[in-house]
Symmetry: C2
Subunit: 317 residues, 2 copies
């Protein structure tokens, strides 16, 4: 197999984490020497054949020639495009148009961007299927912590439903509130620690968790969409409710999909998932309920998800 | 690909569970129509081309011609041997000799039997490697709940250590003791519910958990053996200690391997794993700690593990 060339779109935290991890681990057998041949970032410009010190150069202020991303994709001879731009839950742009351009130009796609996978899954998968290409998106649900991809380990088992804690920001805030802190103080602390963004609405009001519910529904063919999912955030949760085991719970199965604060029983392991940790409960026909817990965000944790997707693409080609 | 023939050795709970599950799910794509061509059981005899009602026939008292298992393996044209006989932590027999015979006769091996994988891993793997064959054993650690095989989902990540609750019987007893029950009463209840055997020493004294520690050490190349693992069971745990979060903990990494009761902090998710549930914490370099929780035993739960192994063998051939 020839060495596969990768084009990275968006060179922020995840893009840089992926660059560093592929540099450290790319020689391991699952990655077959795949290499990042070019990088396009709307602010930094178009980097061809990035050298090992490119991140230091950028931190030092170096900028490259500006280039329209879709044009760069069309002109690229890369085999795989990694889409790492910002999330947009309104229309999934510009990530969606980057992914479509990549597929239309014969490139497999890896993304950690929830927008296109939550909002425009059918269109992307049809575009990929038509050309025998792949779209991989493990990083969209719980970073590289096993989530929907656990099904690879239990072939033949049918997934009948999912519950989970899939937003670390709100789970952190609820855990602090359970210790007696007011919502506003807990939110401020989460922002100071970098867990919550300046505009925290995607987390606090449940949209980020709803996007994950939509993605899971897409993966398992349950037919729910972002707009059909019932969504309630944590703004009205009291410290007393938090202390009594209320968590922001994602629930999805063939019949319903919702995101809502829910009081969990002490015997429910999800109640004991504190801090920014994420958790998923997967109900199956053959082995009952299994659980996967771990980080749901972070530079290295998300980059590992893209590495997992990359290994799958390389091994399936 | 031609349909692969399977020989099942040992037709007790796991063997029958596997037979039923393959009958229900064998037509799904991961299993490529693989079929059970023969069954050998020391009590029931040698069943060629078992019909769909064979389990009912056996329950009704039907017996087949007695046959030496190793002879049957030598004469068989099966491609894959599933070893489902009883566990033996002294010398791993007779499972070990069945597996060696299968490999020496060109057959891939699937087992849920902890004995050979805990005690004679190197010898089995060398025999398999010499012939380009596979030995799969997911069911030996936490049935089909993801455990060591999670590494398939995080390629490139290095596993640096493992902790876990890997014996459901002792975890059930400790949970009941935490509610105030005496050890002997909790053990009796576990026996009545079928969680503990008439001779409970393998569970209570930690040998079953130690076998799992040895298997994990084998998988990750850490070099510990059953006899080098420090093992302490739960006989001396008091109800007070159980109520304060003491669990029978497996710990393995490159430096040490142990099984011992340990008081866990309230912030440790493993403390909240109650009843017969099993749990594993996997420490990695790229994504920190991840956890998998679920059943560690049971007919369908263990059969699913053999199904997962079967799918892997079929897809890798």
């Amino acid at each position: 197999m020839s060495v596969k060339k990768i084009m990275v779109i968006g060179f922020g935290t995840v893009g840089q984490g992926f660059f560093e991890m592929l540099r450290a681990k790319g020689k391991l057998s699952p990655f077959s020497g795949a290499k990042i041949a070019e990088i396009v970032d709307m602010k930094i410009g178009h980097i061809r054949e990035p050298g090992p010190n490119v991140i230091d150069e950028i931190k030092g202020g170096k900028r490259f020639q500006q280039k329209d991303v879709v044009e760069a994709i069309k002109e690229s001879d890369a085999d795989i495009v990694c889409e790492f731009t910002w999330v947009n839950f309104k229309d999934a742009e510009p990530a969606h148009k980057h992914m479509i351009a990549a597929l239309q130009n014969g490139k497999d796609v890896i993304t950690t961007n929830k927008g296109p996978i939550a909002l425009r899954y059918g269109e992307l998968m049809a575009e990929a299927a038509k050309r025998g290409l792949q779209v991989k998106f493990k990083g969209t649900v719980m970073a590289s912590t096993p989530s929907f991809n656990i099904t690879r380990l239990i072939p033949g088992a049918e997934v009948t439903g999912i519950r989970g804690i899939m937003n670390g920001t709100t789970n952190y805030i609820l855990a602090r509130m359970a210790e007696g802190m007011a919502f506003s103080a807990a939110l401020k602390e989460a922002q100071e620690k970098g867990y919550a963004e300046a505009d925290p609405t995607n987390d606090i009001d449940g949209y980020d968790a709803a996007a994950k519910a939509a993605i899971l529904s897409n993966v398992f063919g349950w037919g729910h969409t972002m707009s059909s999912i019932s969504v309630k955030g944590i703004r009205d949760v009291t410290p007393e409710e938090a202390a009594n085991g209320t968590k922001l719970l994602v629930k999805v199965d063939a019949k319903q999909a919702s995101v809502s604060p829910e009081k969990l029983q002490d015997s429910d392991i999800l109640r004991h998932v504190n801090g920014v940790m994420n958790a998923i409960e997967i109900s199956t026909d053959t082995l009952g309920k299994i659980y996967s817990l771990g980080p749901g965000a972070g530079k290295s944790e998300t980059a590992q998800a893209a590495m997992s997707d990359l290994a799958e693409i390389l091994n399936e080609n």
